[in-house]
Amino acid sequence: MDSFIQQLINGITLGGIYALIALGYTMVYGVIQLINFAHGEFFAAGGYVGVIFLSFFAGLGYMETHPVLCLTASFILAMMYCAYLAIGVEKIAYKPLRKEARLAVLLSALGVSIFLSNGLMLTQGVYVKAYPSELFQGGLNFGMITISYLQILIVSLTAALLVALNLLVFKTKIGMAMRATAQDKTMSALVAIGSNNIISLTFGIGAALAAVAGIMMGLYYGSVNYDMGFVPGIKAFSAAVLGGIGNITGAMLGGLIIGMVEIFGAGYISGEYKDVFAFIILIGVLYFKPTGIMGENIDDTRV
């Protein structure tokens, strides 16, 4: 029982990180129907920029005096950096191809992904970069169960961001405009919504969330490396599809499910086949509900 609860906590933490990355996939997909393969790289870049700023602050000596402030600043700066990166990537590599066949953009996205991960390798080195470990040591102990402070931070920050994003998308005019652009770009232009700005915004928000996930991953695992974006990228993409791609609530749900299945699969059945379980769940869900858990059938709702 103890280890069950421990695994549950592990699963939620991992699922939360996946959910944050999956949101970027799903938002971009919702707006321009593109599987943004480079999204995993935004996540990795976020992790790197986070450690760059954290160690910069540590070098200045602020880390000891104002740890919370430094951490917050690093988060915000990394989010801004990734948003800047993503918006630029969209403008250079995706926007000119918007009217072309979708596979062309897919390929371009793949090229960007290869470029970015190798760019990270060349600028940051092939070696793993360590995160400052002084932050968030220790945790709460309940008998055999350990909840580290870091896990608490990850889960609560993830939850806060998800709520904020939901508010943004469903309660504000900008969010309405994002949903409108996703449904009909020509029509939204006819009601004065600049789809280019909305697409940039979507990329920016998605990448900023990925940056948060990247830093949390770096803190949680103690290090970042240049190809760290690939595997979580695929998992998060699966999560987005599982939840119904294009659907924000679905992405969160999908992320949690994939994270849980992975942890419980590894914990109770077999560590080496854990990814198989995740994919089987995915295939099973899609077999019975071909548009994912929360997905709507786009073909039918379009007039």
Binding site: A189, G194, T301
Partner: protein, 240 residues
């Protein structure tokens, strides 16, 4: 009729890649009037409206709105200048509620109380929308969607409203209702309307002047009433 046209197309050529949809189209719309463009399927009526709004790129010629060229202005800037289109097939946002659709019509505006008042105004024009304000747009019937589309366009506070086939696929009774409201908008709010219709009879009855578009070219231009009685038109478009 005042002397200066509010919207003018000067020798416009446009098309989709190698396919030329419009050739040398010139037309004028004066403030406060209803102008109809009639023509058969594929004559380029919708393309004309899409070219005005910059969605279909202009190849040659110029579009003058309110005294200045708008051919270099991005499509999404036009509604802020008072030029708004209700495209063919309504194209409301199906997974947004009725109210959200209307709010988006006022996307560029910041005046919250004013927007609230305008929404109420739309609801008073189309009471059925008021009843369904929390419903998703996609669940409305065709007529209701058309009303929503017009209502949403009104939210942009247009000076010139471009209407594309408002009668398409609707029951006759609904069509009449909608055309009444169009006339009402024109009369009471002074909105200039450029109407594109396949249903020539209806359109010419509502309009003051009309243009006939055939395979991308304007072939006739006249008062609506004279067009309505033009035997050729009657033969070609009114089924006589």
């Amino acid at each position: 009729m005042s002397s200066e046209p509010i919207l003018e197309l000067k020798h416009v050529y446009s098309g989709y890649g190698s396919i030329k949809a419009l050739r040398n189209v010139s037309l004028k719309v004066y403030p406060g009037e209803i102008v109809a463009i009639i023509g058969a399927n594929g004559a380029g009526k919708s393309t004309t409206l899409m070219t005005i709004c910059g969605i279909v790129p202009l190849e040659k010629g110029d579009v003058i709105y309110n005294g200045s060229s708008i051919k270099r202005i991005a499509p999404e800037k036009l509604p802020t200048l008072g030029l708004c289109q209700v495209p063919e097939g309504r194209r409301i946002f199906p997974r947004l509620t009725v109210e959200e659709n209307l709010i988006l019509g006022a996307f560029y505006r910041d005046d919250k109380p004013e927007i609230k008042r305008d929404i109420d105004h739309v609801y008073s024009l189309f009471p059925v929308l008021g009843e369904r304000s929390r419903q998703q747009g996609g669940t409305l019937s065709g007529g209701e969607q058309q009303m929503l589309a017009i209502g949403r366009a009104l939210m942009t506070k247009p000076k010139v409203l471009l209407l594309d086939e408002p009668s398409l696929g609707l029951a006759p009774i609904i069509i009449h209702q909608i055309f009444d409201i169009i006339a009402d908008i024109n009369k009471n709010q002074g909105t200039t309307i450029l109407l594109v219709e396949q249903n020539a009879n209806l359109a010419l009855q509502a309009a003051a002047r009309g243009y006939v578009l055939e395979t991308g070219e304007i072939t006739l231009e006249d008062k609506a009433s004279s067009l309505l009685h033009n035997p050729e038109i009657r033969k070609a478009y009114l089924g006589e």
